[in-house]
Symmetry: C2
Subunit: 336 residues, 2 copies
């Protein structure tokens, strides 16, 4: 049985989306157990007709950390916050993995301080899988650490490469250093400092990559400082939303025939949206901890929650904590 | 007469695209003169049927800087490179503005070293107008300077704000500092250092903005280091291309009715593409020089060249060099 703890209280769309997402996952994976963390009374109405027996457990938590709270202070003050209880279930051996759709900073604080870092790992990173023409590209760090050091980039590349190979089935993943040109002469001070370290590291380093290479299949893993990664991630989400809405608006302004065209095209758009949506990705793994923790979107729907649980499930199946620990340990040996 | 010099030799699609673009612009603006710089023999075949009299001048240049050449070295070695001759026409008083579709680094070197910076301006910036739901948002710097200082960000914001107000007609443009969250507590060391300087500066500073705010109308000007801006710009171009191609592919996989829908939707897509394309924007002004220089895309089509010439024309009409000089001078006074 694979046991996944889910913070049920912090989704902006409400407790019911999380509960329905969990129910969907339980129906799909017969060897899955879900531990829903939060207010039992709030969850009860949505579980009336469900009977998963021991595969579903409600774990009470009396507090929650809101989107606007300062993560570090809130984590310290609210010992019984749902995100903290969720992370503790791994530490206590009651769950194998966990996910939360809440305040990213609070998830980061709760997961990191509760589970601790893998031995030898400098700082954890949030990895996001961006849709690309032939699958996806891992972008990390996408917001866990700003003003990082070159050594962080190397460790993140090690973990990203392992993840793409083990969980996503990519052979010998191509790792790039995100920069302003492919040539080794193009970059900032950090790129120049990191390049020799990346070359010496045990993964398939292909050199500098550019923003566009996240989507054209040129690389499978792109590493950068969390400041850059977070801005890129949100810019990409922003323009994707603008394009999809813009096309919808453009249909409205069109001729009668174009409007018919719009109606007939709906399945096309839905298929495309499904193939590329963050909902389907589920969430971003927080890599580098002594436990599997997946950060998902504050605005997550039941579909996204179900997929975040799926990502937890797959990480456990692939024994990722043990493998990450081994690769970081080996990397340490190499540097020493 | 407004006189615009155009580097005719460095467009990847060939001399003819530049010449045809210039012809389009000449037809649209009766008070425009274009100086086409390059090999007269290469241009001649495309100008046979045209007669613009004194409004079209061919200025010979015997060399060109390729896309793969190291910009600084090539600029020094090739005194008669088309991009350098183009920039010199402004310096010599023969042109009021200039544009080149070549190697961005070479344009930057030729323009900066030939024209010189506005007095008191630390470093010039490339400004790109990104399409947003209600018009556009200026992103700068998008690649002229990496590892910039906080003082650069303030000067770029001053110039971007002036540009949006004067050329784009935006009242009291909202200026944001690109970061990883709206809250003042979210950012990297540079954001924290720049925030008080931005607050004290004479423009409408709205605080931190996120990647998504480039597209949702929350800000009119977003400033960041050239490393971040260039990666964001290319990532955004990359996903936009992937989405448009992805939808096209998705139509192909669809049912017969969906394919009909695809055909009927073509005008919708074309309208949307036109409204948001880089072609229509023309190019990015290099702000902060004693002259107007617009950097356009290496792969520019005749439409894009025509629009780059239009941007030159508008900048001259709005007397932007004089106004930029005044705003930087006033900014200096304020700091002192």
């Amino acid at each position: 049985m694979i046991r996944v703890a889910v913070d049920a209280m912090t989704a902006e769309k409400g407790v019911h989306e999380v509960v329905h997402g969990a129910v969907r996952a339980l129906k799909e994976y017969p060897d899955l157990k879900v531990l829903l963390v939060g207010d039992p009374a709030a969850m009860a109405p949505y579980l009336k007709k469900q009977d998963f027996g021991e595969r579903l457990e409600i774990v009470p938590a009396t507090q929650m950390i809101g989107m606007d709270e300062e993560p570090g202070a809130a984590f310290k003050a609210k010992k019984d916050a749902s995100v903290s209880v969720t992370a503790r279930l791994i530490k206590q051996g009651r769950a194998d993995a966990a996910t939360s759709p809440g305040n990213t900073g609070a998830s980061l604080a709760a997961a990191t301080l509760t589970l601790g870092r893998i031995k030898g790992l400098r700082r954890p990173a949030i990895m996001i899988l961006m849709p690309s023409i032939h699958g996806c590209c891992a972008l990390l760090d996408s917001g866990a650490l700003v003003d990082c050091k070159s050594e962080d980039l190397v460790q993140w590349a090690l973990m990203g490469s392992l993840y793409m190979s083990e969980v996503m089935g990519v052979k010998n993943p191509k790792v790039g250093l995100l920069s302003i040109g492919e040539e080794e002469s193009k970059g900032n001070a950090q790129v120049f400092e990191a390049t020799p370290l990346m070359k010496a590291a045990p993964f398939n380093f292909i050199g500098n990559v550019e923003g566009r290479d996240l989507f054209n299949g040129r690389c499978d893993v792109a590493v950068c400082d969390g400041f850059v990664g977070n801005i890129v991630l949100k810019a990409v989400e922003g323009i994707a939303k603008m394009i999809m809405n813009g096309i919808k608006e453009s249909f409205k302004k069109g001729s009668f025939l174009e409007k018919i065209g719009g109606l007939l095209s709906k399945p096309t758009f839905n298929r495309f949206r499904k193939a590329t949506s963050a909902e389907e990705q589920g969430g971003g793994p927080l890599l580098g901890l002594n436990g599997i923790f997946i950060i998902t979107h504050g605005g997550a729907t039941r579909v996204m929650i179900k997929n975040a649980i799926r990502v937890c499930y797959e990480n456990v199946k692939h024994d990722m904590v043990r493998k990450m620990t081994a690769v970081i340990d080996a990397g340490q040996g190499k540097e020493a």
